[in-house]
C-alpha cells in the first residue's frame, strides 16, 4: 500500500461592514488532515477536522479501499520543496482598527454613498507528503477587500462594487480607487454601440468547463476535436498559474501533490488550444499531461477543478492596445452561454473609458457575442486593468453586440 497526506491549516479574520459601519469581526480557525491510501489502482480516503491521530487516519483510509474506487497511484518520488509567503498583509490584531479607519475615511470622502460587505485576511499553511519520499509545504497570506457601494438616493440593493484579493494594503490607494468610480458615477452618458468592450477575464470562466479533460474527451462540448488547433486570436494566452505568492493564496502544488514545470501550465498559447485541465485520474486515463488542477473538498476523491486558471495579460498597456474610448463593464449579473458558444451578459453598470480613466456611466444593456468571435476575430487584447492601482486583474478587450 502507498499513501499520501494533505494537512491544511487556515486562519481567517473577517470584518463585516454594514451601513457604512464596522459591525462585526469573525475568527475562523480550521485544521484538516486528509489521508489517501492506494493499492491495486484503488483509492481509499479518510479525513478529520481538528487535531487527529494520523496513524488512525491512515488506517481508516486503508479500510476505505474496500469501496473499490478505481484511481491510479503514480505518486511523485523523492521531491521536496517549501515556500513561505506568510508575512501578513495586515496583522490580525490590527485588522478591526484598520477597517474602521478605512470606513471612516470613505464616509468622510464620499458622504453620498453607503459602504458594506467584507474585508478578510487569510493565512494558510498546507503540507503534502507521500510514501514515496515527497514532501511539499506552502505558507501564504492575503487580504480580500470586497466592498459594495450604494448611492444614498438609489433604490437598488447595490450600485457598484470595489475590491480584489491582494498581497499588500495601502489605505490611500483604496480611497483613491473608489474615488475613480464615484467621481464620475453621476455623470450619465449615452452609449456608443461600436466601441470595444472591456470585461474582466473572469467573466469568461463560463467556457472553462469545456476544457476539463473528461468533458473534452467525451467528444461533447464546445472545443471537441480542437486540441492542437488555433481557435482564438494569436494574442490570447490562458494558463494554470500555481506560482507561489499569487494573490489567491494557491499553493504551488495541487490537492494531490502535482507540481508544474515553472509552476504553470499552458491551456491556450497564441490562440492554440494546447492543454486540458486534468487531475491524476484523467491524466492517466487519457494519456494527458498533469495540469495541476486536482481539487478535493475535505474527504473527497480528487477531481479536476478550474483553480489557478487565468488569462495572461499581454505586454501592451490597456489604454495603448485599445487606443481610444471603450465601454468598461463594472457590474454584471448572471450571464451564460448556449451550447453553441453564444454568450449573453446583462450589464448592470458600465463606464465610458478613455486613456486609462473612467469618464462617466452608461445606461444598462446586455452584451452578446459568440465565444469564438469574442476571443477570435473580435479580440483586441488581454491587459492588466489600468484604471485602478489596488486591483490586480486582467481585462479582455473585444467587440460585442450591444443590446440596449
Amino acid at each position: 500500500m502507498q499513501y499520501e497526506k494533505l494537512i491544511t491549516k487556515k486562519t481567517t479574520r473577517s470584518v463585516s461592514i454594514a451601513g457604512s459601519k464596522v459591525a462585526s469581526v469573525r475568527i475562523n480557525n480550521s485544521l484538516t488532515t486528509v489521508a489517501r491510501a492506494f493499492e491495486y489502482d484503488k483509492i481509499g480516503v479518510f479525513a478529520a477536522n481538528g487535531v487527529c491521530d494520523e496513524v488512525s487516519l491512515l488506517d481508516q483510509a486503508q479500510c476505505n479501499l474496500k469501496q473499490g474506487i478505481p484511481y491510479p497511484c503514480r505518486l511523485a518520488a523523492d521531491l521536496h520543496r517549501s515556500e513561505d509567503y506568510s508575512a501578513p498583509v495586515i496583522a490580525d490584531d490590527e485588522l478591526v482598527e484598520r477597517c474602521k479607519a478605512l470606513v471612516s475615511r470613505l464616509n468622510q470622502a464620499y458622504p453620498e454613498y453607503i459602504f458594506s460587505n467584507k474585508i478578510n485576511t487569510e493565512h494558510i499553511d498546507v503540507s503534502y507528503s507521500n510514501s514515496s519520499n515527497t514532501s511539499y509545504g506552502y505558507k501564504g497570506s492575503n487580504l480580500l477587500i470586497s466592498l459594495c457601494i450604494k448611492s444614498k438616493d438609489s433604490a437598488n440593493i447595490m450600485d457598484l462594487s470595489y475590491g480584489d484579493y491582494c498581497l499588500g494594503y495601502n489605505e490611500d490607494i483604496v480611497v483613491s480607487d473608489i474615488g475613480k468610480l464615484l467621481a464620475v458615477y453621476k455623470n450619465k452618458l449615452e452609449i456608443s454601440e461600436d466601441l470595444p468592450v472591456l470585461i474582466p477575464a473572469s467573466e469568461l470562466e463560463i467556457a472553462l468547463g469545456d476544457v476539463v479533460a473528461e468533458k473534452y474527451m467525451s467528444g461533447a462540448g464546445l472545443f471537441a476535436g480542437k486540441l492542437g488547433q488555433k481557435i482564438f486570436d494569436s494574442k490570447l494566452n490562458v494558463e494554470v498559474n500555481r506560482r507561489p505568492g499569487n494573490k489567491r493564496n494557491l499553493p504551488f502544488f495541487d490537492a494531490e501533490g502535482t507540481v508544474l514545470s515553472g509552476d504553470s501550465f499552458p491551456v491556450v498559447q497564441e490562440g492554440v488550444l494546447c492543454g486540458l485541465l486534468t487531475n491524476r485520474r484523467s491524466a492517466v486515463k487519457y494519456g494527458l499531461p498533469l495540469s495541476g488542477n486536482a481539487n478535493a473538498e475535505f474527504d473527497a476523491v480528487p477531481s479536476p477543478g478550474i483553480g489557478g486558471i487565468r488569462v495572461v495579460p499581454g505586454s501592451r498597456a490597456l489604454k495603448d492596445a485599445v487606443g481610444g474610448k471603450a465601454i468598461y463593464v463594472a457590474v454584471t449579473s448572471g450571464g451564460d452561454m448556449t451550447p453553441s458558444g453564444d454568450i449573453s451578459l446583462p450589464v448592470m453598470l458600465a463606464y465610458l473609458y478613455e486613456d486609462g480613466k473612467l469618464i462617466g456611466t452608461l445606461p444598462q444593456f446586455t452584451i452578446t457575442g459568440n465565444i469564438f468571435d469574442v476571443l477570435g476575430g473580435n479580440f483586441i487584447c488581454a491587459a492588466e486593468n489600468d484604471v485602478f492601482e489596488g486591483v490586480d486583474e486582467t481585462l479582455i478587450a473585444s467587440k460585442f453586440t450591444i443590446n440596449k
Binding site: 473577517s14 480557525n29 477536522n49 449579473s333 451550447p339 452578446t368
Partner: protein, 445 residues
C-alpha cells in the same frame, strides 16, 4: 453546557452534519464517502459590535467563548439593547428525522439507487458521458443563548441527480433530472424518468435553434417561476440591504403596490424540503411571511438586527450556510401562490413566445437574470421547437407588473446540489416554487 458571562449577550450554535456522496461517471464509481463534521459557531455582543468565532474544537467551546469575551467590552445594560430584546427564547426539541435517519441506511443501498438506473444511458447512441450522483445530509442542530434558549432540531434531505452529456459530433447538450426526498425510503428513481430526460435532451441537442434576441412573452415552469420569485423579489426582501438606508425604506414602504394584483409571494421555513428551517440561526421560530400579497408589498425578511433597524418583527430568516459563518438575512422556501387558470389556458394566451422549462442558474439585483437549460418556442398556444437561450432577464419591478396569468397548481422545487449564494456564503439550502407563470414581456437573448 457553557457558562455565559454577565455583561454580554452570547449564543452558541452547534451543527453535527452527516453527509453521503456517491458519484459514478460512465457507470464507473468515482466517489463513495460518508462524513460527519461537528462544528460550533459562537457569537458575543456587547451592544456595539458582534464578535464571532467558528471552531471545530467542540470540546472547548467555553475556551472560544472566553476568547471573545476578552476582546469585547463588558456592558451591563446589553440586555436592554433593542437587538437583544428582539431575540426569542425557546426551550424546545424538535427531532423529526432521527427515526428515519439516512445515517442508518447502508451505503450499498445508496449506491444501488444510482447503479440500478444506468441502462437508459446505454440505450442512446448520442450519450457521450453520463454521471449519477447520490447525496444526502442529516444535520443535528443545537442552539444555546445567554437569554435562556435551548433548542435542538434536525434537518434531512436526500436525492439523486442523473446527467447526460449528448453529442452528435456537431451539436452537444447537457441535460439532467433529479429526485428528492426527505426520507430515503421515499426516494423514487425510475428508469422511465431517466429515459425521458435523455430523450428530451437528445431532441434539444438535435433540434434547438438559436433565438433572435428581443422582447417576447414568456411562460415560466413552476421550477423556473420559483427561481424567478427568489431572484426577482426574494433577494430584494432581505432587509440587511436596507440598513442605514432612508431611500430604500421610502421605496419599500409596506402597502406599496409593486406588482400585478394576481401576484402573491411568501417565504416560509416550515415548508417541507430543502428550505425547511424550523428555527433560524439566532433561535427564532419560523413562520410564514408574505412578501407580496395581491400585488402589494406586505413584508420582508429579518434578522434581529434588521428587525430593530426597520422597527419590525423577526421572521426566522437569519441563516448561515454552516458553522463557519455568521447568520445573515436569507430566504428559506420562497413560493408564488397559485392563480386560477389551467396550464392549457395560460399557454393558449400566447401566439408567439417562449416557454422556459428548466434553468441552470439565476441571479438578482435591480435586474434579475435566469439562464435557461431547456427552453421551447410557443406558437399559437402550443409548445413548439426547442430554442437555445443564454439568458432571460428583466427589471424587477417592471416584470412583476407584467405578470398576466398564473396556473392553478403550485409545485415546490427542492435541491440536494447547489443552493443560494449571497456574498461569501454559498451554497445555502433553500427551496422555491410556484405555478406556471405567464409574463407578457421579457428580454430574451
Amino acid at each position: 453546557m457553557v457558562r455565559f458571562r454577565q455583561g454580554y449577550y452570547a449564543d452558541v450554535r452547534i451543527e453535527d452534519r452527516f453527509t453521503t456522496t456517491v458519484r459514478y461517471r460512465n457507470g464507473s464509481l468515482e466517489e463513495c464517502r460518508s462524513s460527519s463534521v461537528k462544528k460550533a459557531f459562537i457569537r458575543v455582543y456587547d451592544g456595539d459590535m458582534w464578535y464571532y468565532s467558528s471552531t471545530d474544537n467542540v470540546d472547548d467551546i467555553q475556551g472560544e467563548l472566553n476568547k471573545l469575551y476578552a476582546v469585547a467590552t463588558a456592558n451591563f445594560h446589553v440586555y436592554g439593547d433593542l437587538v437583544i430584546q428582539k431575540l426569542q427564547v425557546h426551550d424546545k426539541t424538535r427531532l423529526r428525522f432521527a427515526e428515519n435517519c439516512v445515517k442508518d441506511i447502508p451505503v450499498e443501498r445508496k449506491r444501488a439507487v444510482l447503479a440500478e438506473h444506468f441502462a437508459p444511458f446505454a440505450a442512446n447512441e448520442h450519450v457521450k458521458m453520463s454521471s449519477a450522483l447520490y447525496s444526502d445530509r442529516y444535520s443535528l442542530y443545537e442552539f444555546y443563548s445567554s437569554k435562556g434558549s435551548k433548542i435542538k432540531y434536525d434537518y434531512q434531505l436526500c436525492g439523486a441527480v442523473f446527467n447526460a452529456t449528448l453529442s452528435d459530433g456537431t451539436n452537444s447538450f447537457d441535460n439532467r433530472c433529479d429526485f428528492i426526498a426527505q426520507n430515503f425510503e421515499d426516494l423514487a428513481v425510475t428508469d422511465e424518468a431517466v429515459s425521458d430526460m435523455i430523450a428530451e435532451g437528445d431532441n434539444f441537442m438535435l433540434n434547438a435553434k438559436p433565438v433572435v434576441p428581443g422582447e417576447y412573452p414568456v411562460i415560466l415552469s413552476p421550477e423556473v417561476a420559483g427561481v424567478f420569485a427568489h431572484e426577482s423579489f426574494g433577494h430584494k426582501s432581505e432587509s440587511d440591504f436596507m440598513i442605514g438606508d432612508e431611500t430604500m425604506r421610502k421605496e419599500w414602504t409596506i402597502g406599496k403596490a409593486v406588482g400585478s394584483e394576481m401576484l402573491s409571494i411568501y417565504d416560509s421555513g416550515l415548508v417541507e424540503g430543502s428550505g425547511y428551517v424550523p428555527y433560524d440561526d439566532e433561535g427564532t421560530l419560523a413562520g410564514k411571511v408574505y412578501l407580496i400579497k395581491n400585488g402589494v408589498l406586505s413584508g420582508r425578511l429579518h434578522s434581529a438586527s434588521t428587525a430593530v433597524d426597520l422597527n419590525e418583527e423577526v421572521t426566522g430568516n437569519a441563516r448561515a450556510i454552516n458553522c463557519g459563518y455568521e447568520p445573515i438575512v436569507r430566504m428559506t422556501s420562497t413560493i408564488i401562490e397559485a392563480g386560477d387558470k389551467t396550464k392549457e389556458e395560460l399557454f393558449a394566451g400566447v401566439s408567439h413566445g417562449y416557454f422556459i422549462k428548466t434553468y441552470k442558474h439565476g441571479s438578482g439585483m435591480s435586474t434579475f437574470t435566469i439562464a435557461p437549460a431547456l427552453a421551447y418556442e410557443i406558437v399559437d398556444g402550443k409548445i413548439g421547437s426547442p430554442v437555445k437561450i443564454a439568458v432571460v432577464c428583466g427589471n424587477v419591478f417592471e416584470t412583476l407588473n407584467l405578470i398576466d396569468g398564473l396556473s392553478n397548481e403550485v409545485v415546490v422545487h427542492s435541491s440536494v446540489t447547489g443552493g443560494c449564494g449571497k456574498m461569501e456564503q454559498f451554497p445555502l439550502n433553500v427551496a422555491f416554487g410556484g405555478p406556471y407563470v405567464s409574463i407578457s414581456k421579457m428580454n430574451v437573448s
